[in-house]
Assembly symmetry: C2
Homo-oligomer: 452 residues x 2
C-alpha cells in the first residue's frame, strides 16, 4: 500500500512538473493495454480533484479480424461505461500499415497514431496528449539505440514532455503498473501493438532487463542516475553546439548556407558532429549523415557530395550546404525608382582613378531574374561573367546560379547579388540599398549581409 | 583465415597507434588464461619483425592449493620452454586477498597485480605493460557501470593507454580470441581470476551479451560506435570542465581552495558535477561525492560539511574546500631585514588622513607562526582580532587559523596573511613583498595573489 501511495505521489508530481493546471484538457492515448489503462484510471481518479477536461483517443489497427472487433468493443465499453469520458475512435484501413514504403510496421503505426492524436487535439482543442510510456520503455529504448550504435542523445530518447505530448508514467516501472492494476482491479486487454514486429524489444524486455535485475536489485535507480547523467551531458553539449553553429555560419541565402571551414575544422569532434547534424536538420535530410561523411568534410580538401536533396561543396574557405532544386524562380518588375538615380542616365565618368561603364540610359521597367550561366555585368574593369566573378569569391557555380540580377528592358544587367555578395555598375548607396530591398521583398531572401 | 589476418592487422595498427617502436621493451601481464595467452603469442610472433624486448609477469594468486601449483608450473613451462622469454613470478601469500578491509577480492587482486607489474617495470626498465583486456571486457564493464549508476565517463572506462599500460586486444572480441586460439593451437589454462567473485560479470557475459547478440548481429560494431560517441562527448565536457575549474578558483592557499560561488552556481549541471569531482580529486577524497551533495552546494545558503578529511564551507561569496588537519606548522625566524624598513622604528605618524600605530621599535629576530585564535594586530583603525578580520572578508575560522603571522620578539604582530589576504602595520610595498616572500619560502605557500 505504501508503494501505491508512492506511485500516486510520483504521478501527481510529474503532472505538476509538466505544468498541468486545474481545468486543463488532456487527451489520453489509449490502447486498452495495461500501461494506458493505468494512465486512464489514474487521470480519472485525479480528475475529482483537478477538474480536468479528459478525452480518450483509440486506434483500432484492424490487424487481427474478430479480435480487433472485440478489442474495440472492450475499449468502447470501458471508456464510456466505466469512465464516462468522450472517446474518439479511428479504425485503420486493413493493410494500411503494410503499404508504407521503407518504414517498419512499428514506425508506420506510430505515425498513424500521432497523426490521429494531432487531428483530435486540433479539432477539440485539447491542451495535452498523455501517452503511457513507462520507465521500462526507456530502458528498452536505451538498448535498442545502443544496438543501433546511436549517439548519447539516443540513449535516453523518450522525453517526458515534447510539444503537447506529456508522459506521466515515464518514471513508473512496469512492476509498479502491474501492482496498480492488481490493487485497483483495473480492466485491460493484451495490447495488440505489443504483438506486432516487436521481436527485438521482446528479447530486451523478457531476457535482458530481467537478467540485469538479477545482477542488481537497484537496477531501476541506477538507470535513473545514468539517464540523468546522459541528459545533463547531452543538454550541455547541445547548448555548446548551438553557439558553435551560429558562430561558423558566414553566409545564409535562401536554401544556401556557407560555413567557415577553418572554424568548422577546429571544432571539437563532439561539437562538429552535432553542428553537421543541425545542418542536415535544417535541410530536412537524415540519410547519409555518418562518421565517414564528417571525417570527409574535415580531411578532404575538395568536396562535392550529394546527400538526398542536399548538396555539400567546399570552395575556398567555405563549406557550402545547398539545394539546387530550390532555385529562386521569381521574376518581377521595377517600373520606376522613387528618387534621382545616377543609373537613369550615365555618361563616361572618368574620375581619374576609376571609371564607370558607358551607357546612356536605363530602359524601364527593370526586371529581377535569377542569374544565368552566361550573364555578364559591365563593371569598372570591364565586361565580367557573373558566375565566374562569384566563383572567385568562393561561391560554387550551383549557388551562384541561385543569385539574382536586375536587368533593364534593353537587356543590360545593372545589378547582381547572391547572398551577401552584391555588385552594381554604380554603387551609390541609396540606389544599392533600394535594389537590395526590392530583391529581398520580391524573393524573400536575405541580401544585405555585406557589400563587396 | 581472412578473419585471422584482419585481427593481426588490427593488432599491428593498435601497437602503431600506441607508438610502440622497434626495440621497445614490453612486459606482458600473463595469467595463463585465453586472453593473455593470445596476447603473449601475438607479441612473440610479431617480435621477429619488431625485435622488442619482451618479458612476462605472472601472479600465482595461490587461491586453490594444488591447482594453483599446477597452474604456475604450466605458466613456467609455457613461457620459458615455448616462448623462451624472461618470466617474473610472484606467489601471493595465501589469504592475502581476503585480508584487505573494505575492498572486494577482485579489486584487491587488481591492486596486487598492478603493484607487482610496477615493481618489475621499474626494476627491469620496461617501457610498457601490456594487458589482455578485450572488447567484451569493455562491454561488460559498460553494464557493470550502468548498474552502478555511473556517469558517462564510466560507460567506456577501460582506456587503451594509461601511463605505461597498453591494451593491444581492446578492440578484439572474445570470439576473435577463441578463433586465434583454435587456428594457432595456443595452449592455455582456465584463468583462475575468472572464477573469483565474478557473479555479476558472469551473468553479463553468459546471459546478457549473448542475448544482445541475438537481437543484433552488429552488436560489436554498434558498441564501437557508442563508445566512440561517449568518448568524444566526455572528452569535450572534460576539457570544458577544466577551463571552468580554473575560472572559478579565486583563492588557493596550501590545502585551501576558495571558489567563486556565483560563478559555480551558474555553471551548467554537467560541468558543475565535474568541477566538484575535480575538487574532490585534488583532496584525494572519493567518498561522499554524490548528486545530493552537489544540489546542497547550489541550493543551500549556509553550508558546513565534512566529507572524509575534506571540509566544505560557504562564507560570503566563497565556497571553501579545505583540510583542517593540514594546518601549517612551520616556525622560523627572520634575523634581520636587508634594507631600511619603516617598521624598524615607527613613531606616531598622523598624516591628517590616517595614522599608523605607535610603537617605537621592532625587536629582532622576528618569527613566522600560524595564526592563533586570539592574535591581534594594531592597524589604523585600532587593535583588531585577526581571525575576526579575515572572517569579515569571507574566510571561515578554520581557514583563518591556517594563515601566518610575523611577530617580533616583543610579541608584537606586525604582519598577517592567509592566502591572498595580507595586512601589515605598514604597507610599504618593499617591506610587504619581503615579508610575503619570506613566508612563502618558509611555508611553501602561495601568498601574493592579492593585497587587501
Amino acid at each position: 500500500m505504501r508503494l501505491m501511495e508512492e506511485m500516486v505521489i510520483k504521478l501527481r508530481n510529474k503532472l505538476a512538473e509538466f505544468g498541468v493546471q486545474k481545468g486543463s484538457s488532456i487527451l489520453i492515448a489509449y490502447s486498452g493495454g495495461k500501461d494506458s489503462s493505468v494512465l486512464l484510471d489514474f487521470l480519472s481518479v485525479l480528475n475529482n480533484e483537478l477538474e480536468m477536461q479528459l478525452g480518450v483517443a483509440y486506434i483500432n489497427h484492424n490487424l487481427r479480424g474478430n479480435e480487433s472487433i472485440e478489442e474495440e468493443s472492450f475499449v468502447r465499453n470501458n471508456v464510456i461505461a466505466n469512465y464516462n469520458l468522450p472517446l474518439y475512435v479511428k479504425v485503420a484501413q486493413s493493410g494500411s500499415l503494410e503499404s508504407q514504403k521503407g518504414e517498419s510496421v512499428e514506425s508506420a503505426a506510430r505515425k498513424l497514431r500521432y497523426d490521429f492524436f494531432k487531428e483530435i487535439v486540433e479539432k477539440y482543442n485539447y491542451k495535452y496528449i498523455a501517452t503511457a510510456h513507462n520507465f521500462n520503455d526507456r530502458i528498452e529504448t536505451f538498448f535498442i539505440n545502443i544496438l543501433r550504435g546511436g549517439g548519447s542523445e539516443t540513449l535516453n530518447s523518450i522525453p517526458a514532455v515534447n510539444g503537447k505530448i506529456i508522459r506521466p508514467l515515464l518514471d513508473i516501472t512496469r512492476e509498479e503498473i502491474e501492482n496498480y492494476i492488481h490493487t485497483n482491479h483495473i480492466s485491460f486487454i493484451e495490447d495488440s501493438s505489443n504483438q506486432t514486429n516487436l521481436y527485438k524489444r521482446n528479447i530486451i524486455r523478457h531476457d535482458i532487463v530481467p537478467a540485469l535485475h538479477t545482477v542488481s536489485s537497484n537496477m531501476v535507480s541506477s538507470f535513473e542516475t545514468v539517464f540523468k547523467h546522459i541528459d545533463e551531458d547531452t543538454d550541455y553539449i547541445k547548448s555548446c553546439a548551438e553557439v558553435a553553429f551560429k558562430e561558423i555560419i558566414r553566409f545564409k541565402w535562401g536554401n544556401v548556407t556557407g560555413i567557415d571551414r577553418i572554424a568548422f575544422n577546429t571544432l571539437h569532434p563532439a561539437i562538429r558532429s552535432r553542428v553537421i547534424k543541425k545542418l542536415f536538420d535544417v535541410y530536412g535530410e537524415i540519410s547519409g549523415l555518418n562518421q565517414g561523411l564528417i571525417n570527409a568534410l574535415v580531411t578532404q580538401n575538395r568536396i562535392k557530395l550529394v546527400k538526398g536533396r542536399l548538396y555539400i561543396e567546399s570552395k575556398g574557405k567555405f563549406l557550402w550546404f545547398y539545394k539546387v532544386n530550390n532555385k529562386i524562380d521569381i521574376t518581377c518588375t521595377i517600373d520606376t525608382i522613387p528618387f534621382k538615380n545616377e543609373l537613369y542616365h550615365i555618361d563616361v565618368c572618368d574620375t581619374g582613378y576609376d571609371y564607370y561603364p558607358v551607357f546612356n540610359s536605363l530602359f524601364f521597367p527593370l526586371t529581377i531574374e535569377t542569374i544565368n550561366e552566361n550573364d555578364e555585368i559591365m563593371l569598372a574593369k570591364g565586361r565580367t561573367n557573373i558566375v565566374k566573378r562569384l566563383g572567385e569569391r568562393g561561391i560554387p557555380k550551383n549557388i551562384a546560379l541561385q543569385g539574382c540580377i536586375i536587368r533593364d528592358s534593353n537587356k543590360t544587367i545593372v545589378v547582381y547579388c547572391c547572398g551577401p555578395f552584391f555588385e552594381a555598375v554604380n554603387k551609390s548607396d541609396k540606389t544599392s540599398l533600394y535594389y537590395l530591398k526590392t530583391i529581398s521583398s520580391n524573393t524573400g531572401l536575405q541580401t544585405s549581409v555585406q557589400y563587396t
